[in-house]
Amino acid sequence: MTDIALAPTPDPVSTRNLRRGFAAAAIAAGVLVGLLVMIWALAGAGYFWPIWPASGLGLPIGILGWVTWVLSDPSRRRVGLGFTIVAGIFGTIVAYLSIVWAAAGAGYFWPAWPALGLGAVLLVHYLIVRFVAPQAEMTERIETLTVTRTAAINAQEAELRRIERDLHDGAQARLVALGMTIGMAEQKLATDPDGARALLAEARGGAHEALSELRDLARGIHPPVLQDRGLEAAVRELAVRSPLDVHVTAATDRLPPAVESAAYFIVAEALANASKHADPSRIDVRLERNGGTLSVEVVDDGRGGADPEGAGLSGLRKRVEALDGTLRVASPVGGPTIVRADMPCAL
């Protein structure tokens, strides 16, 4: 899946930069130390003075290496990212001081004092992470839930208003028009049977249109195929119905209904936007389930420039966030446009 092009996605990009930075720094330091050792050797050996610049360079390089190593893999920070990094830094500093102690002739192990001090700080940090931080995390979680809940309620309100308007202006109006036409036909039956017949034919057409509008409205609320056969089947049907060239890659079984519904409407909205604005030659839809997360991605090769805050996508974003997911849009002018949603789905 195409992580890289989307913004904001700090993790993969900055980790790569960090590793490159570390490699560059390590190589530069290594070359420098190598040069110094050569100079020492050429100057007749003796007291191994390169130990000082070497260990001096080793301290920051060691710290950088530790940080890079921790950040590269989320599994390496079980006790908390901050704590792991700080522990590593302290360890590197104590190691550096120990090298200094050894190089300065050993004797009284004075690094014990700074080691003790750093150890005490580390202990306090650990206690905070273990006991205080979860509290703060919970408060933050409550705030997030409150915000997304309000957004979800507002989104639902707006959706219900939309449905009511569509019913009033669409199906209800059609039925009123139908009633008027039938009423007029009734009036004419005795005096103008041909006119009556024409009106009844018109009424029949009106009934078809009313049914069709109701079907569209129902599909806009909850498509029957989504209920009956699931997300993959419903998305494939969207692809078939679309006038554009849509390719679907999917391997998901049934998911919680709220997740399937949100995912379906994201694909529907993305396809509709692409067909309205982007003029693409090809659209790719990918549905993928990784462990407990459903990923939905719609990529079109059209002209881009989509507004990520557009009405349709904003409403869907609120829905997705209420499910603890994320919805991201990358649409540089010139294309391609990528709409990507990730939602947790309970196993």
């Binding site: 009033h168 202006d169 109006a173 059609r174 009633g179 008027m180 009423g183 007029m184 009036q187």
Partner: protein, 219 residues
């Protein structure tokens, strides 16, 4: 009879225009918003303005506001408000000034074309046309044990039709009675309810409605 229509859905605006013209009613104007309605009425001075309650821009009760404005600025033009929903408070607002030549109907009433046109004419001639739904709700909301419980079924029917604004002749035709029988029922009703008999039909409607509202259970 000359009318102006205000309805924002083209499908219904055209349908209503066609229906009225088919029934010898002259449609001199058809607009899709409240401001244009007022302008058109002041220009054409029709006998009645038929107004949808829901008009742009907010699609709440612009039509009602515009109809009341027409009422104030062109007192000779009757107003007939139509809607897809019935709200008792709107009915009350329309009848508040006590003047005749007012109506409030569900769009469903349009389906019976001759009755609808009859209601339009009635309103244009200074009568009243209240949707049976409005009256039925007032009836159903009343407290038990009031004087209405003393009315016979037939008398209750006559009362409902009176509240809708029908004339004695129309009531007679609707219930298949003689006009004389209707008049007798009405006299009994007014006696039982303790209302003074009133000759004017619109005043009658107001009296009956006021009575029904006073009998309503606390909301």
């Amino acid at each position: 009879m000359r009318v102006v229509i205000a309805e924002d859905l083209a499908l219904l605006r055209d349908g209503l225009t066609r229906l009225l013209r088919d029934n010898d009613v002259e449609v001199v104007g058809a607009v899709d918003n409240g401001a244009d309605l007022v302008k058109e009425v002041l220009r054409e001075r029709p006998d009645v303005a038929i107004v949808d309650i829901r008009l742009p821009p907010t699609f709440r009760d612009e039509g009602l506001r515009a109809a009341l404005e027409v009422r104030a600025k062109a007192p000779d033009t009757a107003i007939l408000v139509v809607s897809q929903y019935i709200e008792q408070t709107y009915a009350a607002e329309l009848l508040a000034d006590g003047r005749a030549g007012v109506g409030y109907l569900l769009k469903d009433r349009i389906f019976n074309v001759s009755e609808f046109v009859g209601a339009v004419r009635r309103v244009a001639e200074g009568g009243t046309a209240l949707d049976p739904e409005v009256v039925a709700q007032l009836f159903s909301r009343r407290r038990k044990g009031g004087a209405i419980d003393d009315l016979t079924d037939r008398e209750r029917e006559v009362l409902s039709l009176m509240a809708e604004g029908m004339s004695n002749a129309a009531i007679a035709e609707s219930l298949v009675l003689t006009v004389g029988a209707v008049e007798k029922h009405i006299a009994n009703i007014f006696a039982k309810l303790g209302l003074a008999p009133s000759g004017n039909e619109h005043r009658r409607v107001l009296a009956v409605l006021a009575y029904l509202q006073s009998q309503g259970s606390p909301a």
